[in-house]
Symmetry: C2
Subunit: 414 residues, 2 copies
């Protein structure tokens, strides 16, 4: 094993945090949800690299859990946002940036005739559900079992603090399973407001599955027939797989879609984009927030989306994902481990066969961390346009060392 990380600063911050924050940390960035031994606090990020509070440097494969798509501190994106901050960010109304961004998204997304902006992905998915209900005057929303759509009572992965009524009109089906969807549609009867689907199946701790084109077409047909809204939750994958929206390659257009994370390369923003048929419904509902009209994040999004349109950033990211996937596959096999690498290469999920309790994954990720790469043992990871072939090769070298480390420590393939 390599030496333990320097982590005295992190330990000190964790101890201070425990006094003034329940458990020291909450939500998806709590390290207890990642892997034992991970640093909780960071000091810096740049391109595809992050530095923890003790100054340890990592090649990063989480990209802030999705917001980073072009590289941290992208100079053009940040300059666009900072110009708006210099003029004044939040005010008594939006600036021209809002119109520019709305026009750009309507021009770029293959399904959008209009947009609305928010701050959180959950704001956008919740607005989609509210718009679908207002437009259809119906109540039932169909969601795939195990899908993550946000962290509020109607969709939270936890039931603590949630009442049964919060989900009274949620009906579940299985992703990519047309018969299961049909059964849910039947259960909704004449009260079907919408069918909500993530861009692909990216449930935590499970193999990822791309959507089957026939399944998406089937869902589209159901919504056409019933008048319900086909809702794409593209919060995690949007502006990372395809700048036109993640279903553009399948030729299936959602009625409503939720975007966030990568849309402004780290500046806080979310968006709902919808079709003409739902414009009136979207104009009826009351959705708002104190910071939703701030122009800095909108200017950052304009620049981000333009770069994604005009450059090969996303194709490059996919290539880097494939380079990492292929390399990891070969290296792990050499060390006697069998990996399952699923989903889009630029949003890789890496799981070990027979490792339900994540013993191998946690040991491997921690060993990799000590060798300078930041991976996740059970959540999909993210690559960004700042990853270079050299970064990937260095990361693979570290992974090779990490497999050696865990084998030396007696961790064996299942």
């Amino acid at each position: 094993m390599t030496a333990k990380l320097l982590n005295s600063r992190d330990t000190e911050l964790v101890e201070r945090a425990r006094r003034v924050v329940p458990n020291g940390m909450w939500g998806h960035m709590a390290t207890r949800a990642i892997a034992p031994g991970y640093p909780q606090f960071f000091s810096r990020s740049d391109g595809c690299r992050v530095w923890d509070a003790d100054g340890n440097e990592y090649i990063d494969f989480m990209c802030a859990w999705g917001p980073n798509v072009l590289g941290y501190r992208h100079p053009e994106v940040d300059a666009a946002a900072l110009a708006r901050i210099d003029a004044g960010d939040v005010g008594n109304g939006p600036t021209e940036s809002m119109v520019e961004l709305a026009e750009l998204l309507v021009d770029t997304l293959d399904h959008a005739d209009w947009t609305l902006f928010q701050k959180n992905g959950t704001d956008a998915t919740t607005a989609c559900v509210t718009i679908a209900r207002a437009a259809t005057e119906r109540r039932k929303i169909l969601v795939a079992r195990g899908a993550y759509h946000g962290a509020v009572p109607w969709c939270s992965p936890s039931l603590l603090g949630v009442t049964a009524e919060d989900r009274a009109h949620i009906i579940v089906f299985d992703y990519n399973d047309a018969a299961s969807l049909d059964a849910a549609v039947d259960a909704a009867g004449d009260d079907l407001a919408g069918v909500l689907l993530t861009a692909f199946q990216h449930d935590v701790g499970k193999d990822q599955h791309l959507p089957q084109a026939a399944f998406l077409a089937h869902a589209r047909k159901i919504c056409d027939r019933t008048g319900a809204a086909l809702i794409l939750d593209d919060v995690r994958a949007g502006f990372r797989l395809d700048v036109r929206g993640s279903w553009a390659r399948y030729g299936v257009k959602p009625d409503l879609a939720a975007y966030s994370k990568a849309i402004a390369n780290g500046w806080p923003l979310a968006a709902v984009a919808g079709s003409e048929r739902f414009r009136e419904g979207a104009g009826k509902v009351f959705v708002t927030g104190s910071f939703w009209y701030g122009s800095a994040a909108m200017a950052a999004a304009v620049k981000t989306v333009r770069i994604l349109r005009d450059s090969d950033a996303l194709a490059h990211t996919e290539t880097m994902g494939e380079r990492f996937r292929d390399g990891l596959s070969a290296i792990s096999a050499r060390h006697g481990f069998k990996l399952r690498q699923t989903g889009p290469a630029q949003m890789p999920m890496v799981l070990f066969d027979g490792d339900e309790e994540l013993k191998i994954a946690n040991a491997f990720c921690l060993a990799a961390l000590r060798r300078g790469i930041y991976l996740h043992p059970k959540h999909n990871m993210f690559l960004c346009a700042a990853h270079t072939p050299e970064d990937i090769d260095r990361a693979l070298e570290a992974a090779d060392g990490a497999f050696g480390d865990i084998v030396s420590a007696g961790i064996l393939a299942a």
Copy 2:
């Protein structure tokens, strides 16, 4: 009347926006919700001034609807945030700024033993409700009739897209009415999770009312007796009336409180602050968001709260509010109008007697706008620390002219 505002740029942006945004604009910043003739788009803000898209300058009395408390583009606050952006804002975890802010809030707020951070005020109020339910294992939340707590289904001012079940466990009572609160408590029976109150009664279009100390003490006693959470929604008033929390002066401590708006002087942030008794419940619930751990807004909040603690900014703001209130009272009387000015002077509500349809208010505000002050005809307004006596006096001069304008145009007191 003075000349019509230059507004060709605003008109052009409004027309463009209508094509790509339902109704051209949504939420509380849609000018159709303000007064006819108001500009929809802005270009710049500084101190207590805003400039619309056509470059018309206004002395501002809305302060971005609350976020601006120290003055737009406050150099120290923005420098603190920009230093974090320069190092990298969102990452794979929080930075030391989170710990600093949590420690500072626990030290500053009179009721807080711990904190959690979010982006929207609605995130914070929703988290309070979820924590109250998780901690008490009960469901009923009591809210004051007409109070605004956010724009999601359980609390939205609109019922469009909302189902009955979204409010199945919400029971209403009347603010400052102990008997009404008692009746709601009785209705909740042994299922009372929390009592949710805004800092004072600040419902749109109505006279504002400060909380009666005896009413707050009564609510506190009910929660002590039943184990329910007393929840303060301090989103609008927090860090504007009293840096210790808006109920500190009444000696009543909430169990949970929601903050946002002014907490970071315009940088997007919200916070839940709670008591020891609810720490465990807060540690149980799953609440999170993609941008909740970004350090720029947290660094901005640290600086904002420190300035509010260490300076006379809030006392000065109150003095400016009183100067404006007193001046407006005298001027309006001279022109034959009777105003009702209610609530804290730094968050003034100005309504005209006998003006239920807002004909006088809309005419007056538009006339004032044309003379360079930005007022609101039916929502509480906001003053900030950047307002100087000279700004207030110039605003009063404009108001004087505006009253003359509307009288000349035949608008008479009711």
